[in-house]
């Protein structure tokens, strides 16, 4: 299990990196390498050239703004997880991060790398979709912002052009007083999700959900925003019958076919259970706000 031969470039600037990608159709960006290197060791990925972006100065760090958290391309999962400023404005990040592989992997793997890999069972893509975030893609023709829901196109496929580099991801902060929760079912702790559900919701002063965001991973070929369920739950007190209705409306979102150890039925069952529990947990964490 050794990688096949490749070329290696370690550009110092984004422009240089982009030009290498533009000039070599089989060149691949190397950030943390925690998904790419295993694939290369299995010789399932055989890039012609690795473009190691760790030395590009502009691609490091986290910027926490009032609305948006900017996570640069070389930011490791663990940095995002432990950042105190992030935790203040978006405590959901750390909660989700507990489920991403294991600490030694999170120490090396990058948030943006996980987004670009676009595994539909992974947590980071779901988080970006749940929060309604976006990514910034930079290519030979400049920079563009791609909304999360447009970015994840299908299994391991994103809207990134192959000569583009995703320079940053933009995760919205949580609304003031919002409740939040995430959980997933996996075989082993740290494995990819069989199904995972995240929720952010706000309650008005009468305990009714004024805004509900709900998303799932593991159930389709991309992370999925459960919009029908969101609509059903908005305006309700999130009682048992409301949750029943939301679960019923979410079943169709499960499009993953039967797998050896995970039937379609089991996924739907797990998704339903998670929706009930996660929405309830988020509601418990939400502060009831004065209606405007």
């Amino acid at each position: 299990m050794k990688p096949s031969l490749f070329g290696y470039q370690a550009p110092a600037s984004i422009e240089e990196a982009i030009s290498i990608l533009a000039g070599d159709p089989d060149a691949v960006v190397l950030a943390g390498g925690q998904t790419l290197l295993p694939a290369m060791n299995f010789r399932a990925a055989n890039p012609s050239t690795l473009v190691d972006i760790q030395h590009v100065a502009d691609l490091r760090g986290i910027e926490v703004g009032t609305e948006i958290i900017i996570v640069k391309a070389m930011t490791r999962h663990r940095e995002f997880e432990l950042d105190a400023a992030v935790a203040r404005v978006n405590p959901l990040v750390a909660e989700v991060m507990q489920h991403v592989a294991h600490v030694p992997i999170r120490n090396r793997g990058t948030v943006v790398g996980s987004l670009c890999h676009a595994d539909p069972s992974a947590e980071m893509p779901m988080l970006l979709v749940l929060l309604g975030g976006s990514v910034i893609a930079q290519g030979p023709s400049g920079r563009r912002e791609i909304a999360a829901e447009d970015f994840f196109q299908s299994f391991l496929t994103t809207a990134r052009e192959r000569d583009e580099i995703i320079t940053e991801a933009r995760f919205p902060v949580l609304p003031k007083g919002a409740g939040w929760a995430f959980d997933e079912v996996t075989r082993r702790h740290g494995d990819y999700a069989i199904a995972g559900v995240g929720c952010v919701l706000s309650l008005d002063d009468r305990g009714r959900a004024s805004r509900v965001q709900l998303a799932a991973c593991g159930i389709a070929d991309t992370p999925v925003r459960l919009k029908e369920a969101e609509n059903i739950l908005t305006g309700t007190t999130l009682g048992a019958s409301d949750l029943d209705a939301a679960v019923a409306a979410s079943g169709a979102a499960v499009t993953q076919p039967d797998e050896i150890h995970v039937s379609h039925t089991y996924r739907r069952r797990a998704l339903g259970t998670l929706i009930r529990r996660i929405v309830t947990m988020a509601a418990q964490r939400a502060t009831q706000m004065e209606t405007a």
Partner: protein, 175 residues
Amino acid sequence: MARTMKAAIPDRSADAEVDVSMTVNGEAVSRSVSVRMLLSDFLRHELRLTGTHVGCEHGVCGCCTVLLNGRAGRSCLTLAVQANGYDIRTIESVASADGTLHPVQQAFKECHGLQCGYCTPGMVMNIVARFEEPGKLDLTDEGIRDLLSGNLCRCTGYLNIIAAVRRAAELLGRA
């Protein structure tokens, strides 16, 4: 058995080589190696630091865990060339020069936290890294399990390793 001429057999691969320099266990090292050489192979075969073990080469087992700039990571999922300029620490740096065991190692011995010893260096490096991080350690059963998750052990069933982490915390005054 017939013996072919040794000269007929090549000595090196045709791979292009790159110069790689890093600090390993406090010493600056430089080598010219194939661009595709994994850091695990670099440590083991170029530097002969064979305490770092290789169990899966896909990042699941954790046997090859070393400290990369102070943080635990998989040396099998890192290219040697990627580690250019890094500060690397391996299991060989953990005990004192006279062989005295580090408290984490001592705790493993006291608690029978190892059997075949193959996963042990990776386990120890992961634990040492977490002990070196600032902040409070979660020494509940579940907290220690989470700390150890990411390192497979096939011999011990983990419970003695959990005990060893707790014992190490005592020895290090972190309990």
